[in-house]
Symmetry: C2
Subunit: 392 residues, 2 copies
Amino acid sequence: MSAEPSPAPPAAPAAGEIGLVEARDFHCRLPFTFDSGQTLPGFTLRYETYGELNPTRDNTVLICHALSGDHHCAGMHAGDRKPGWWNNLIGPGKAVDTRRFFVVCANVLGGCVGSTGPSSPNPETGHPYGVAFPFVTIRDMVRSQKLLLEHLGVASLAAVIGGSMGGMQVLQWGIEYPHFTKRMLAMATTGRESAQAIAFNEVGRQAIMQDPAWNRGDYPREGGPRVGLAIARMMAHITYLSDASMDRKFGRRKKDTADRSGNGFDVQFEVESYLRHQGQSFINRFDANSYLYITRALDQFDLAAAYGSLEQAFAPVLGETLVLGFTSDWLFPPEQNRAVALALLRAGKRASYAELDTDLGHDSFLLESPELYDLVRGFLQRSEKQVSDFSI
Amino acid sequence: MSAEPSPAPPAAPAAGEIGLVEARDFHCRLPFTFDSGQTLPGFTLRYETYGELNPTRDNTVLICHALSGDHHCAGMHAGDRKPGWWNNLIGPGKAVDTRRFFVVCANVLGGCVGSTGPSSPNPETGHPYGVAFPFVTIRDMVRSQKLLLEHLGVASLAAVIGGSMGGMQVLQWGIEYPHFTKRMLAMATTGRESAQAIAFNEVGRQAIMQDPAWNRGDYPREGGPRVGLAIARMMAHITYLSDASMDRKFGRRKKDTADRSGNGFDVQFEVESYLRHQGQSFINRFDANSYLYITRALDQFDLAAAYGSLEQAFAPVLGETLVLGFTSDWLFPPEQNRAVALALLRAGKRASYAELDTDLGHDSFLLESPELYDLVRGFLQRSEKQVSDFSI
């Protein structure tokens, strides 16, 4: 927890906190064939782990991140002021209890935070792959994570947990590796995006690709379509919130610096300032080509189309599933979450659906919520006995 | 109606249709002082009229257009294939019956379809005003329309009708010119935008202003930030529809031309193709600086802030008001429409609210709806007697 420039050794983590963590890299030296048929000679996944793998190697909880997330989901990096993005959920004594579980989280294939993606150097040219990078699917992400877990000696997953795009990975895990996946916890997700969600992603892609600095995906690491990426992020960020939460957080409050006459096109409202900050901070941590690839993976994800129907998609599932929807989520609304759980039930699987009454929009799964924590804790604490026919 | 390249005279309009119409220009030669305090030596409003002004000069219906609309709301322009944008509502025997009413519609001040706006030449420089144009408010739009109506010899308005930004003008008419305004019909509107609506407008403005071709508002008439304006329009267009209507219209259907592997960042889904078309056609008819000015007018419109409260804002109103909300409108949702009607009622005014159950989103007010037509017709047919104390 200590990031002071002091010579003293780091203090012990506060009670309930993981403390300092470090990322590691998994280098897979075997060729990897993507769903598109394209192949890479190998790949890297950057990941973090918290807790210890037990002797039976079956206490792993895999965390899957969303579009703009990464592998750093809990604990502190030395020098940082903020912990990982799901630190409220993960830690000793927390809903995902690191005293009991071995927690793993990896930056997705196609990402830009240490894992191989379009900003990685193409060994054939020495330059970033750019749009020569193979197209990535949710299933590609899941298959690469499986190789990481094998490398770590994991025998099976006690649970796989994720929200939004992370939830899509959760569902794909249950389908792809049924004997490996005991519990699936998917939040704020969908079996396939609606036209509206595709439309927002497409406007973001157009903002990036129409930025002259995109240059057909060929740009230097520190350059690129920063304007287009910021616009894409500003817009997408609105879809992660809700009308009600934005009104509570910002309302129509003016910035102190705003010209009181209301003239000019500089920042007038606090919500404008907030969005501009979101856009600016994003371009310093995210690669525009990764944004294109990952939003395409989101849009192309369609379990019903891929397997004939949602029920057929879930036919192989052996574990049990908890789907959590959030009432104010208008990007992947409750109906879409409920539809996933209903299809699992129709397919004869153990599945539950719970809907949390929040007004925080799509990002509700990331936010402080004792109700959410209790549901996660309860789902993970169901005894092995209760899921014992899992391995039959 | 005839747009054939034939030497024959135009055919008589079809029954129920207005037929050929032409726009005219009103040149106001008097100085106009904007709410900002800035002044122009005069201005032009481009407008159309349908029907005839009656001898008592009190049968005028003023139509107020929305952000991207214009003065051509009904009838056909020679050579055009499509009629004006509200032709389904306005015409002989239609809900706004041109056999009875003298219908007037003008392009707003600050607009770019013939009325004076930032793309008009600045007489001092000979170049377009650009961002030297005075800032425009909804009240400025209304006050300039009043000068047009006086020019046309209109003694009072039988009704003022508009949706979205047009609805804001309707409310401002009732407040600003109570003795002139018998009936106000405001659809899909609000007394002030929420933070979310401001946020979407701000992303659109940023897309325009961050486009290098914007050049701080100084660009040639045929050039300008076409990329940024197209992005702004694509995004805004999503907010005018609904998740349900987009799913019905496009769903996840792929374009025939799409690479079936789902790879590539070219158009894959029909909804993408539709949005790109919306963006491209918009940049050929709209000026980017006008988009900045008019969205700022929308964001700054706040009757409660301007007058102390919504009830106080409505204190001067003499006419009666019908507010129409649409269940699937998530840009100016039903609650915001209802709040307007409730404030009028609390202020002791004659006001009604009706909510139409549609799944077409914000743009519902523009679409075919016999239920909507009946409500408009009924509101306009209420006898003079019923509103007789209007002039007291």
